[in-house]
């Protein structure tokens, strides 16, 4: 029986996708997991992979077409096998109509109209369109065809909450087996060690602060803290690394800022939190988002566990993520889940700006350019390379003094950059 290929929900918020390019032609042999097409989502260009093996029997939408999530885009089956008559309105293209008129496919169509198969198709569609929000996204891949998994793998997946459609099976015909789940990082909602955050119910004072401030200046009551950081030593550090380590090992100012912010968040967990309407989620893990300009907007790739990474690891990872961000090749999990963000416009010679908070995060640090300006050192006016940073704070989560203490730690670390080299 042929397997329907549908537009899958490739990002959490995706409602429709544009089929940029078919990677397989009709008649091509398909192995499970092969890339069938590239799909542009609301966030990125992603790959639509085959959920069944065989032959690509039909492309029911042409390249360039935009179709809703879970709509049919093609069929995979055995070579020569007919495919059910089309039911989706979006499918109508001249090309496929012609195919329908060939005797063989016609016959298949007739068979399909004799009740059962047709009915099944309809039920299928109703299922998909009736659901709303997230349920649709999750249901869609499952409806493409049954995921092959051994009984013990299914049981393990059910117990640990792993979505089997996201696991690549290493058994025969792509069957998901036990070892595939043993090697998949399992996302437990609550393991023995507990979740990587603490939810704190809102106290009355926090509730009142939240209510009053929202009335005052909009849904996220933001305030701004600005400080100027002396970057002389940080600049020296960069030059020392450059002079001694040669080409290939570079430390950028941005890497230093990411590292300083991560370490400061360890000391000030109150700033590493999400506003969750009825509670505040204080994260035990530090994931730093890094705004990257792309052609038609911006995206914030996330450096996970940034506090546990060395300066050089942060440097390599941010470079790699930014590169793929510009190519729009980030996976959803690579640009979601930050606990704090940084926006750096220093390279555009912006002295000072304020950044907009990316909810549910509670803070973002706007980083300006580094320029020599007159400063007073030991009673004398001397030129110093200085950098102005401004932290935007969600007042429902972070109070003025809390943010100020965090920012002074960032400043202290950047002004004494040797501390950033410690593992």
């Amino acid at each position: 029986m042929a397997t329907k290929v549908v537009m899958e929900a490739l990002s959490p918020t995706m409602e429709e996708g544009r089929l940029v390019e078919w990677k397989k032609n009709e008649g091509d042999a398909i192995a499970l997991g092969d890339v069938l097409a590239e799909v542009e989502t609301d966030k990125a260009v992603m790959e639509l992979v085959a959920r069944a093996g065989g032959t690509l029997l039909r492309q029911t939408v042409a390249a360039g077409a935009t179709v809703p999530v879970s709509a049919e885009v093609g069929w995979i089956g055995e070579a020569g096998e007919g495919v059910p008559s089309r039911t989706d309105k979006t499918d109508k293209t001249g090309k496929t109509d012609k195919t329908d008129k060939t005797g063989k496919t016609d016959k298949t169509d007739k068979t399909d109209k004799t009740g059962k198969t047709d009915k099944t198709d309809k039920t299928d569609r109703t299922d998909k369109t009736d659901g709303r929000d997230g349920a649709v996204a999750r249901a869609a891949p499952a409806s493409v065809g049954r995921v092959k998994a051994s009984p013990v793998a299914r049981k393990m997946a059910a117990e640990t909450g792993v979505d089997l459609t996201t696991v690549a099976g290493s058994g025969p015909e792509g069957r998901v087996i036990k070892r595939d789940l043993e090697s998949t990082p399992i996302r437990l909602p609550a393991g023995p060690a507990g979740p990587p955050y603490t939810d704190t119910p809102l106290s009355q004072i926090r509730k009142t602060i939240a209510k009053r401030l929202v009335q005052s200046i909009g849904p996220i009551p933001t305030f701004y803290l600005t400080t100027e950081i002396d970057m002389e030593r940080a600049a020296d550090l960069r030059e020392q690394v450059k002079a001694t380590q040669g080409e290939g090992v570079k430390v950028s100012f941005n890497d230093l800022v990411v590292r300083a912010v991560s370490l400061a968040l360890v000391q000030h967990p109150a700033c590493n939190a999400w506003w969750q309407d009825d509670k505040i989620r204080y994260w035990h893990e530090i994931h730093v988002g890094m705004a990257v300009a792309v052609d038609d907007g911006l995206i914030t790739p996330v450096i996970r566990h940034a506090d546990r990474k060395t300066l050089f690891e942060i440097g390599a990872e941010s470079k790699e993520l930014a590169g793929r961000a510009r190519e729009r090749r980030l996976k959803p999990e690579e640009y979601t889940g930050a606990t704090f963000s940084i926006s750096n416009l220093g390279m555009f010679d912006i002295e000072h700006f304020t950044a907009v908070i990316n909810p549910p995060e509670a803070g973002i640090l706007a980083v300006g350019s580094i320029a020599p300006i007159p400063a007073v050192v030991d009673g004398a006016v001397v030129p110093r390379r200085r950098m102005r940073v401004t932290m935007s704070c969600d007042h429902r989560v972070i109070d003025g003094a809390t943010g100020a203490r965090f920012l002074s730690t960032v400043k202290l670390l950047l002004e004494n950059p040797a501390s950033l080299l410690l593992p």
Binding site: S150, V152, S170, G171, P172, I177, K178
Partner: protein
């Protein structure tokens, strides 16, 4: 603990049980004067006399019926079949009388009897004398079916079979009689219905019994050299089947191969597979594979005979298949 052959372990069990209980007697072709066709009853005539060690004519249906009658009136006969191939002549008595008497008398008359003798193929005995019948008898409610693989189990299981109040079909391995092993002295009873882990392992379960235990252990050794830790489960009793032991093992390994000497269709392995998929569906990571004798009358030609039999290489191959290696 002494090192005995499988043959002598059986002899010891018979001797001990006959000495312990005067209602136990042995009857069959050549069991007395000739000391048994396979010398299992060696010395018993001399020790217990002609009333308790009885030679019979070549008439399986007759002496099996006499044995069942004796059991019905209170004795504990051990009926020796020269081989289980010849017991086909007696199968009406075993199935229609022994297996059903307790049920059809409403529990008034039990048949505490043991039918014992060698089963399965030896070497080039031809199609009619090379058959494994355990699945035939295991099919029948009212019978217990026991298939020892080692000298210690041969002794322990035969003693338990003689003491059991139900008819027990006790199938020895013709090729196992000379096998040696340590056998506990005296009161060594191996319970019926309990499988035995002959080799612990964690990667794949190999279920076997009787003559396939040896090849299974050899396959496990060869698998170990390839980094696969196989567990070998000897069923020992085919009916009642040890459900718990099978499920415990598969819970650990998630993979299973069942080896048996008999033919594939409706074989012992089919029952094991049924049990595991039904009771242990969520334990499985791969389909269960069976390794059986070829689905043909046993060839006489020695090369064809070898090809038709289960061996370690076939078990090893099946284990690798269920491991997807």
């Amino acid at each position: 603990m002494a090192t005995l052959t499988y043959r002598d372990a059986l002899n010891q069990a018979l001797r001990e049980e006959m000495a312990r209980d005067s209602s136990v007697f042995l009857m069959g072709e050549e069991v007395a004067e000739y000391d048994g066709a396979y010398k299992v009853s060696r010395g018993l005539l001399k020790e217990f006399g002609p009333k308790r060690v009885v030679d019979t004519p070549i008439a399986e249906l007759g002496f099996t019926g006499i044995g069942i009658g004796a059991a019905m009136v209170g004795l504990r006969p051990v009926i020796e079949m020269m081989t289980w191939n010849f017991a086909l002549l007696a199968i009406d008595q075993i199935i229609n009388s022994a297996a059903k008497m307790r049920y059809m008398s409403g529990g008034q008359v039990g048949v505490p009897i043991v039918f014992r003798g060698p089963g399965g193929a030896a070497l080039q005995l031809g199609a009619q004398h090379s058959q494994a019948f355990e699945s035939f008898y295991a099919h029948v409610p009212g019978l217990k079916v026991v298939t020892p693989a080692t000298p210690a189990d041969a002794k322990g299981l035969l003693k338990s079979a003689i003491r059991d109040d139900n008819p027990v079909v006790f199938i020895e391995g013709e090729m196992l009689y000379n096998q040696k092993g340590e056998v506990p002295d005296g009161e060594h009873l191996t319970p019926l219905g309990k499988a035995d882990v002959k080799r612990p392992g964690k990667d794949v379960t190999i279920v076997c019994h009787s003559k396939t235990v040896g090849p299974a252990l050899k396959a496990a050794e060869q698998l170990a050299a390839e980094g696969v830790d196989a567990e070998v489960i000897d069923l020992r009793t085919i009916r009642p089947l040890d459900t718990d032991a099978l499920l415990e093992s598969v819970a650990k390994t998630n993979r299973c191969v069942v080896a048996e000497e008999g033919w594939p269709f409706a074989g012992v392995g089919a029952q094991v597979v049924d049990l595991i998929q039904r009771e242990g569906f969520d334990l499985l990571d791969a389909p269960i594979l069976r390794v059986t004798g070829a689905d043909v009358p046993m060839p006489y030609n020695k090369h064809l005979e070898r090809a038709a039999k289960v061996d370690a290489a076939k078990i090893q191959d099946a284990a690798k298949k269920v491991l997807y290696r």
